[in-house]
Amino acid sequence: MELLIVEDERSLAEDIKAYLEVPGTRCAIAGNVREAMDHIVDKPFDCVILDLGLPDGNGLEVLRELKRMGRTDGVVIVSAKDAMDDRIEGLRIGADDYIVKPIHLAELAVRVQATVRRAHFGGQDRLQFDELVIDLPGHTAEVNGATVPLTPTEFRLLRLLTASRDRVLPRHVIAEHLSDDPEDDRVQELVYAHMKNLKRKLAEAGCSDRIHTIHGVGYRFSA
């Protein structure tokens, strides 16, 4: 998978690159509009992670250029501006997603994965980990061909884990992903209950033990 990170804060770009660059994924970095244009002319990307406030212009220029070229690269805007107009304008021009900084890297990984897979696999999008098959648009999971009865929350949890597979997911990141109210502290407690149920259901269906608890930190999904 080829990703382009357009971000003028070099240090932040490096963090994103370090998190998203797993075996099979390569990330290029562009620090301004000009560099980004060079990259997109050079080759297509599965997804462009696009900052809007760049030193030599607005990131939307890159998006417009992609659309002008008739390209289908996925675009996730990650902006420090949360003005409604920017959001509407970005999505109108054809961005797949719009996220306001700061964002958890695991959250970005889910959004990028969703954007890439929607663009490439359309309605037939399935992630496979040996016996475990996840039907992303259908919101279902199967183990050895049998559907695992997951609640919506458990499915979202599984999706977050697989998007950050082989990486550590801190508990608070999971809590914020699952909750609609980031100020409710009890969600951290609920994460434990949901995770326990998910692990139990997968185990009962005959799935190998892929979700590991890292004590004091969080969880990790092994591909």
Partner: protein
């Protein structure tokens, strides 16, 4: 009440009073003038009779015969002898009596007085039919009435027609002002009306709206820049913490330090979001014709929160009146209802209840929670919330209500914490 009606009402009340008073006044004055004229005539007749008889130098019997003749002719003069040295007081009066000439009762004007003939006092009564006079006076009053009605009627029609024309520039201005959006791109353009006052108003409004647009744009730029300048370093901090979480051989104490660092970053982020929302709520332009569908908004919000509500075992009761519309910006309604929903869940207890009531006249959110009332002194103040949350949610909700002209009230009754407001401008 419209301004036209307000200015028209006293004028028309005055005009009507004058008209109603002037018709009888007209009649009475005309009648009195006529009667005075007749009375003068009757006096002249009396003098002529007196002088005429004197001029004849009649003897006692001849005078008596002459008086009998005059009385017999019955031409409006009657004489009768009075006792010596007595007189009758002069008086004029009107009397209805039989008139032989016309053969029926007629009003007569009568003058009673005294004349001295050959040194003897005689009572003289001069009378005249006044029917024609009455008819004349009535006709004159009628003409006056018709002219007054025509005058006022004409004024009424002209007033109706001209009021519309005179106020047309004002209506035009009002329509444009309602369409004006401080966050839009179109300026308010002063129009030429040809009326000095309206032209002045147009010019002033153009300047005022231009200033407002400039202030709003500046404020917005400032908020955006501030947000950008704060979000970027928070994003940097968060990125580092998250990368550290991925380090090989992370020990438990190190992980705990990272959790604490993360918790600080999270608080900073939420505070920033809260302050930006508050800034938005403080400055968002409100359009006069804004309308929102609170039911759609509350259902979407509850849908987002449904898993947390069911995880916590909270029983939800939602009552929404049919087809409720609020005169409110949809974005503001989302902020208000979103904060109240969050609060009702966040401060609720496991297996508690929350009730939401929405109608065109009021809304109320109530939930189970802590077993004592909240401190109403500090409740709506910024950053003064109890342990949970940042304490900006209610300040934001209250500010939205304030801008709508509603009053958000808190009560604690029967173990339920309730927030409610009346919507006074409900259609």
């Amino acid at each position: 009440m419209k301004l036209f009606q307000r200015t028209r009402r006293p004028i028309w009340t005055y005009a009507t009073v004058v008209m109603l008073l002037s018709i009888p006044a007209y009649y009475l004055i005309m009648r009195n003038v006529w009667l005075a004229d007749i009375d003068q005539d009757l006096e002249v007749v009396k003098q002529k009779v007196e002088r005429g008889i004197h001029a004849q130098h009649l003897s006692g019997t001849a005078l008596s015969d002459a008086i009998d003749h005059i009385n017999a002719i019955d031409a409006g003069v009657q004489l009768s002898m009075l006792p010596a040295d007595s007189t009758r007081t002069d008086r004029f009066h009107t009397l209805v009596k039989f008139d032989a000439l016309h053969g029926h009762d007629e009003p007569f004007r009568i003058y009673e007085s005294t004349v001295r003939l050959n040194g003897v006092p005689y009572a003289i009564t001069v009378s005249r039919v006044v029917e024609e006079t009455e008819e004349l006076v009535t006709s004159i009053a009628l003409v006056a009435l018709v002219s007054l009605v025509l005058l006022f009627g004409g004024m009424l029609v002209l007033d109706r027609v001209y009021a519309g024309r005179i106020w047309a520039p004002f209506q035009h201005l009002l329509a444009r002002l309602k369409r004006f959006q401080v966050d839009g791109t179109a300026h308010f353009q002063a129009a030429k009306t040809g009326v000095t006052e309206f032209d002045e108003l147009e010019r002033e409004l153009e300047q005022l709206t231009r200033r407002n647009m400039a202030i709003y744009a500046e404020q917005r730029r400032f908020t955006e820049n501030a947000a950008h300048e704060l979000r970027t370093p928070i994003a940097l901090l968060q990125g580092k913490v998250e990368r550290l979480f991925q380090s090989e051989g992370l020990t438990r104490p190190q992980a705990e330090l990272l959790e604490e660092a993360n918790s600080g970053i999270r608080r900073m982020r939420l505070t920033l979001d809260g302050l930006l929302t508050l800034t938005y709520v403080d400055n968002a332009p409100l359009h006069a014709d804004a309308v929102c569908d609170p039911e759609a908004i509350i259902r979407a919000l509850l849908d987002q929160a449904k898993e947390r509500i069911s995880d916590l075992g909270i029983a939800l009761e939602l009552h929404v009146a049919p087809d409720v519309r609020w005169p409110m910006e949809p974005a503001m309604a989302e902020i208000l209802l979103g904060n109240l929903v969050s609060k009702a869940v966040r401060h609720n207890v496991r297996n508690g209840t929350m009730c939401i009531d929405l109608s065109a006249e009021k809304f109320s959110f109530s939930n189970t929670g802590a077993d004592k009332a909240l401190d109403t002194e500090r409740l709506f103040k910024r950053f003064s919330a109890p342990a949970k949350g940042l304490g900006l949610g209610l300040a934001i909700a209250q500010r939205v209500c304030e801008r709508q002209g509603w009053q958000l009230r808190y009560s604690f009754l029967g173990g339920m914490h309730a927030f409610e407001a009346r919507i006074p401008n409900a259609a």
